[in-house]
Amino acid sequence: MNKGMFNKKVLGALVLAAMLSACKSTPMTDKPAAVQDKSPAGASTQSSANSAADTSGVKEVVIDSNANNGNNPLKDPNNILSKRNIYFDFDSDSVKAEYRPIVEAHAKYLLANSNAKVVLQGNTDERGTREYNVSLGQRRAVSVKKSFNLLGVQDKQIETVSLGEEKASANCADEACHQQNRRVEVVYEND
């Protein structure tokens, strides 16, 4: 437990360092790969992303988080907590049975880590108007939140937001493609 807290702080420091060094948003999602990979390629990615800023701070973070990475259940590809997407049917906000294990695993984690906070990001496919899709994505996020609530997670650990169709891969030609866009993503604070 202590170790977990420490890990989280270090991860937080990494995020902070990344933000201070003026990274764009994408490096945030690239971060797990960067911290895992000690190979020259990984190191060069990290330094080039921060080339204009305080590189010494970044190096320190890479070392710390690399040591921690294997212990972070949220990042462990073999742990169900690394699964973050809940997909929906067309025009539907109901959480399908096949995603119950993912919802339950995250609820359990949030109950066990009362300082942890998640943002549930709702997404839609590109059909319909942008603002209406912001609202539709929100409804999906609220639907997942209610599932968390039923499992005992308090609202103070959850924020529901929507990205609408803005993160949808455009020009979907078929239903399988649209389905990938209709999702709620579980994003941990400092994730």
């Binding site: 603002e131 912001v134 609202s135 929100q138």
Partner: protein, 433 residues
């Protein structure tokens, strides 16, 4: 009918009339425009090249005026090169020359240099049949105001000869997505002079002009969720209008500019709120367990129209801007979104799902009659011209976003695109003074 230009302006006229399509070359253009259709009665007019020896290397503003009038679909702009006389004042006009060209109206003018790097633009409009003067205007301007002055002259001609109110001296805002970045841009209503208001690597949507045209409200995802900002065009200064827990989106200015209707979620579904333009005085306007979004004010400020799925499928409703129960407005069709008022308050543009195709529709609020105006499959974001005669909207073409415009009677259509750009979320601003 508005919008345009570019290096190579293509004018496609697919109407049943004989239309003289002059090719004009504009050096600093951004959006390329195609026009199709036209009014059954197009007024033939001669725009004589202005005497503008006082300004060097400047496109003759007669070209800008001609392009505006042609785009309206209501004028046939005549070729004047074959007429020997080149009057620059109405006193120099020999009406018989222009009557033989079949012109019914003639515009002439000149530009003179004034002390202090200013210019004087003079313009007169004549009725060729009656041989009378219809307008006589002088503009004392800086050189940078020359294009907008040309649009103002086009507006004077348009108003005098059609009886409609002005349209050309205005600007449009839109989002241009290019190389993974999103830019909120403002351009003259003919598509020229695009300027970036704000750019971000995260999406920007829902730009909304303040009624006085000095500010734009918009929704930015720069903090990984929708937040509403209000930004001054002149200074670039911006305030965070709404950044509450959950989503903050769909800003709509009240007609007096003092407050906005917005959409917040907190921890539940989208609901309507009112907020002062400085971010104070938040007040909930709608209460439902459904989605309420896309608010828009009626021009008399008495009502806020919005879209909601409270009845099952998305439809348009209205609520008093003082609060109270909502009433349903649209009953025709299974899916109606994005209400927008015509400036006279008599009709409502919206997006209708028409057999799986999302199109711009126009509903007459007195009769309830609905006309489908657009022809795309994913048309969005209708926006009226300041005089209500044209609806600008977003469409998709070859997998990319483009802007299109259609006259409110459906007759004249235009498409604006920028090579390499992905353009969406247009909003037509107010007339410039």
């Amino acid at each position: 009918m508005k919008k345009m230009p570019s290096l190579f302006q293509r004018v496609l006229l697919a109407c049943t009339l004989t239309v003289s399509a002059m090719m004009t070359s504009v050096s600093h253009a951004a959006l390329e425009i195609e026009i199709s259709g036209g009014n059954a009665q197009q007024l033939p007019i001669a725009i004589v090249p202005f005497n503008q020896d006082a300004v060097k290397n400047q496109e003759n503003i007669a070209n800008i005026i001609s392009a505006d009038l042609r785009r309206s679909g209501m004028f046939r702009v005549l070729e004047t090169a074959g007429v020997a006389s080149k009057p620059s004042t109405i006193a120099q006009v020999k009406y018989s020359d222009w009557a033989s060209l079949q012109a019914q109206a003639i515009a002439v003018g000149k530009i003179e240099a004034l002390p202090g790097n200013r210019l004087k633009v003079s313009f007169q409009l004549g009725d060729v049949l009656k041989q009378t003067q219809l307008a006589d205007m002088d503009y004392n301007i800086t050189p940078s105001q020359l294009r907008m002055t040309a649009h103002k002259i086009a507006d004077v001609i348009y108003q005098k000869l059609t009886g409609e109110s002005a349209i050309f001296a205005s600007r449009i805002a839109y989002i241009n997505k290019s190389k993974g970045r999103y830019a909120l841009q403002v351009a003259d209503a003919d598509g020229v002079n695009p300027q970036t208001v704000v750019s971000s690597n995260e999406p920007i949507i829902s730009p909304a002009w303040s009624p006085d045209g000095t500010k734009i409200a918009y929704v930015s995802f720069e903090k990984k969720k929708p937040i509403i900002f209000v930004q001054s065009l002149m200074t670039g200064q911006r305030i965070t209008l709404a950044s509450f827990k959950g989503n903050n989106s769909a800003p709509a200015w009240a007609p007096d500019g003092s407050k906005l209707a917005i959409v917040l979620t907190h921890a539940a579904n989208s609901q309507l709120y009112l907020i002062n333009a400085d971010g104070s005085g938040l007040k909930q306007l709608s209460k439902s367990s459904a989605i309420d979004t896309e608010p828009v004010w009626s021009p008399d400020a008495k009502w806020v129209y919005f879209s909601s799925d409270r009845g099952g499928s998305p439809q348009i409703y209205k609520v008093s801007s003082l609060g109270g129960d909502a009433q349903r407005v649209t009953f025709d069709g299974t899916y109606n979104l994005s209400p927008r008022f015509s400036p006279d308050g008599k009709s409502l543009a919206m997006i209708r799902n028409d057999g799986g195709r999302y199109r711009v529709a126009l509903q007459n609020l007195a009769t309830g009659q609905v006309q489908i105006l657009s022809e795309g499959n994913q048309d969005e974001s209708p926006s009226f011209a300041p005089n209500g005669r044209v609806v600008l909207y977003a469409t998709r073409s070859a997998g990319r976003g483009a802007l299109a415009a259609v006259s409110a009677d459906g007759r004249v259509k235009q498409r604006l695109s920028e090579s390499g750009g992905d353009i969406r979320e247009p909003a037509w601003g107010p007339l410039l003074n």
